[in-house]
Amino acid sequence: MITADRPPVAPEPTVPSTAVAATVRVAAKRVEADGVVSLELEAPDGARLPDWTPGAHVDLVLPDGTTRQYSLCGDRWDAHRYRVGVLREPAGRGGSAYVHDRLAVGDAVGLGGPRNNFPLVPAARYLFVGGGIGITPLLPMIRQAALLGVDWELLYGGRTRASMAFVGELAEHGERVRIVPQDEHGLLDLRGFLGDPDPGTRVYACGPAPMLAALAAATAAWPAHTVRTERFVARELGTPARDTAFEVELARSGRTVTVPPGRSVLAAIAEAGVEVLSSCRQGTCGTCETGVLAGEPDHRDSILDDDERAAGDCLFPCVSRARSDRLVLDL
């Protein structure tokens, strides 16, 4: 046996960065339809982005401080790029005007998540219903269904054909896809598309509230858990995320540290000499969970669901930050 002692090669540890990973760069911006642009996002250093599953969304913290949620609609087999589709909202609500008019290739945006409240569950058959920009979470689901060789069909409605994004890339699926612009064909014929209730089929629908209301009526007789919907809302999250420093008080050790922008809470705490065990440093594994005693967290993890976030009693300091000036942690 060789017992070659490798002289300790300059121990410059290949530690995954503890600085804030939660920033992405706009790598491409494309007009997809009237009022819809897509953004391709990548890590500034070209690293892998956190893994995601179809139905997931990310929070983007725009340079003007607004935080918006967008469904991921790219290819998860490309670990280096995310794609989102952004509709210009009426009255320019919720940051969409900023994305359309000002956000440019090369700009940095803050990233939260990905999180998935709309996961694709295993089924023998899928029926997808997309309304307008609600097509975005369905795109990776469709790809996945196709990959698994599962039977599926898509009903895709929009105001006009010109306003409907990603029609081109759906064309390859032929007969499985029905494109239904309202000005040509009127409202979606949901009952005709869905057919009779079928326990082996899962219905996935995303779109504006009136479409989902019509879908709820049309699927009233379907068995429980067969219909899964996500409402497309231009949701703006409470207090705007901050890009300034905040203070973190460590209640048990009595120390207070300042967390500047560009530094993770985890790194700042470690510098103060308080050790928090971590692993993925991406907000996915749950190892660094820390109790929050006071203050309002800015959750950037992929773990907590909306209720757990609202409880505000814990955070993942490897990625999450503060909305308030001060956070008090149980450390």
């Binding site: 046996m1 060789i2 017992t3 070659a4 002692d5 490798r6 300790p8 090669v9 121990p11 410059e12 540890p13 290949t14 530690v15 995954p16 892998r48 893994d51 599953t53 179809p54 998860r76 087999w77 670990a79 998935n116 996961p119 694709l120 569950v121 295993p122 089924a123 996945q144 990959l147 698994l148 899962r202 858990h225 067969t226 470690a270 050790e275 065990l277 971590s278 692993s279 993925c280 440093r281 594994c285 749950g286 190892t287 969970e289 773990i303 757990e308 814990c314």
Partner: protein, 405 residues
């Protein structure tokens, strides 16, 4: 052992069998030689490629697109060979099939879900330590009395399987982890009982056998909600019974052995019992109870100036990565509570990262906290003896002497 550079393309090679008894007994010199030889080494004996440096192991673990699990995470290549049992829906699955079972289990075993077990497990560990000190006195074998006893007390109950037959759990797990290696004598030794053990394990996964509350019931409830299918539910339960017992037993043995041989670290833990979790992760790094897993290249993967051809197996040495001086510094071999073990790959990394890691940490926290409260010093009372397994680094016997506080 010789590591020779093949003249054609300078790919370092080795003829050593990583699963031979000598290496399993003490893999550290072989690991060091592999790390030294290069970022990738060809293991001629099995025609597989080895990663032993932290950088490549971590990169392969997270790159599920390039390094798949569905062709098996053992030596056997499911593209060509029939698996010995229906493949795991988690460990031996790729996206998209991996997604739904993973999501379900991650929630059921997540830190928030475990909060409700926290107090009971801490109390149970206290009781166990009292009972053992009473019954055995200060000197005993820590493996049966503590590190096997504690997981077997809390974990099968948490899953919700019946009392009867629990003695099958450790032999089943031992065989399953042997089966990731080549069909050597360790696998042969287990073969006669495989049918019986597998049948028992499969029977425990049925809905009507499982307690109305517990991880098992939670998994079936997820199938009622349609988050997984009723066909998947028993295999998801099986993944807990396969991966959740032997691993923690050997993890606990590792941390106790570390303390028995590092008295100053035990003093430190007693002064700061809050370090229990850090101590356990440091022991998981230091000992790597799960030593190795394979992946299969999904395309020609360039690495360190070489190409791993599509469909070839890669053996990732988690244990070697966890002691790579390039990542952990010149004292990588030291067990040290002052070190931040964060980022070790003892639980893997990426989408397959151990979904039971919070369970394992809770068990360890409970047992170490109970011991730290009652035990002033802990030392070896005789030479410990290894238990050989193709994948696990384990102790058969760990004689200890405890001085109660």
């Amino acid at each position: 052992m010789t590591l020779t550079a093949e003249p054609a393309h300078d790919l370092p090679t080795s003829d050593v069998d990583p699963f031979c008894p000598e290496v399993l007994e003490d893999p550290l010199p072989f690991h060091a030689a592999l790390r030294e030889a290069g970022p990738v080494v060809h293991l001629r004996r099995y025609d597989v490629f080895a990663f032993a440096r932290y950088e490549q192991v971590r990169a392969a673990l997270v790159d599920w697109q390039g390094f798949q699990s569905a062709a098996g995470v053992g030596l056997s290549n499911f593209r060509h060979e029939k698996p010995w049992r229906p493949p795991s829906l988690l460990l031996e699955a790729d996206p998209p099939r991996h997604d739904a079972p993973r999501r379900v289990l991650q929630k059921i075993l997540g830190p928030r879900a475990l909060r409700k077990l926290h107090e009971a497990w801490l109390a149970d560990a206290d009781r166990l330590v009292d009972e053992v000190l009473d019954a055995q006195g200060p000197e005993f074998d820590a493996v049966p009395h503590l590190t096997e006893a504690f997981p077997l007390r809390v974990f099968p109950d948490a899953v919700g399987i019946p009392q009867e037959g629990r003695e099958h759990l450790l032999p089943y797990g031992d065989h399953a982890f042997n089966a990731f290696g080549p069909a050597n004598e360790l696998v042969e030794k287990g073969a006669p009982r495989v049918g019986e053990l597998s049948a028992w394990v499969a029977a425990q996964c049925a809905r009507e056998v499982l307690a109305p509350e517990g991880f098992g019931a939670d998994i079936w409830a997820a199938s009622d909600r349609g988050d997984i299918t009723p066909e998947q539910a028993p295999l998801v339960v099986r993944s807990l019974l396969t991966a959740g017992v032997d691993t923690t037993v050997h993890g606990l043995s590792a941390v106790l052995c570390a303390f028995a041989t590092h008295p100053e670290q035990w003093r430190r833990l007693r002064e700061e019992p809050g370090l229990a979790r850090v101590a356990f992760d440091e022991a998981v790094r230091w000992e790597s109870p799960v030593q190795t897993f394979f992946r299969t290249a999904t395309r020609d993967v360039p690495i360190g100036g070489h190409v791993i051809p599509d469909g070839h197996k890669i053996l990732m040495f988690l244990g070697a990565a966890n002691r790579d001086p390039a990542r952990w510094g010149p004292d990588a071999d030291a067990f040290d509570l002052a070190r931040d073990p964060s980022g070790h790959v003892g639980f893997g990394m990426g989408i397959h990262q151990c979904v039971g890691q919070h369970v394992a940490r809770l068990e360890a926290e409970a047992l170490l906290t109970a011991l730290a409260r009652r035990v002033e010093t802990i030392e070896l009372a005789g030479p410990p003896r290894r238990h050989l397994n193709n994948t696990l680094r384990a102790w058969e016997a760990l004689p200890v002497r405890l001085r109660p506080a």
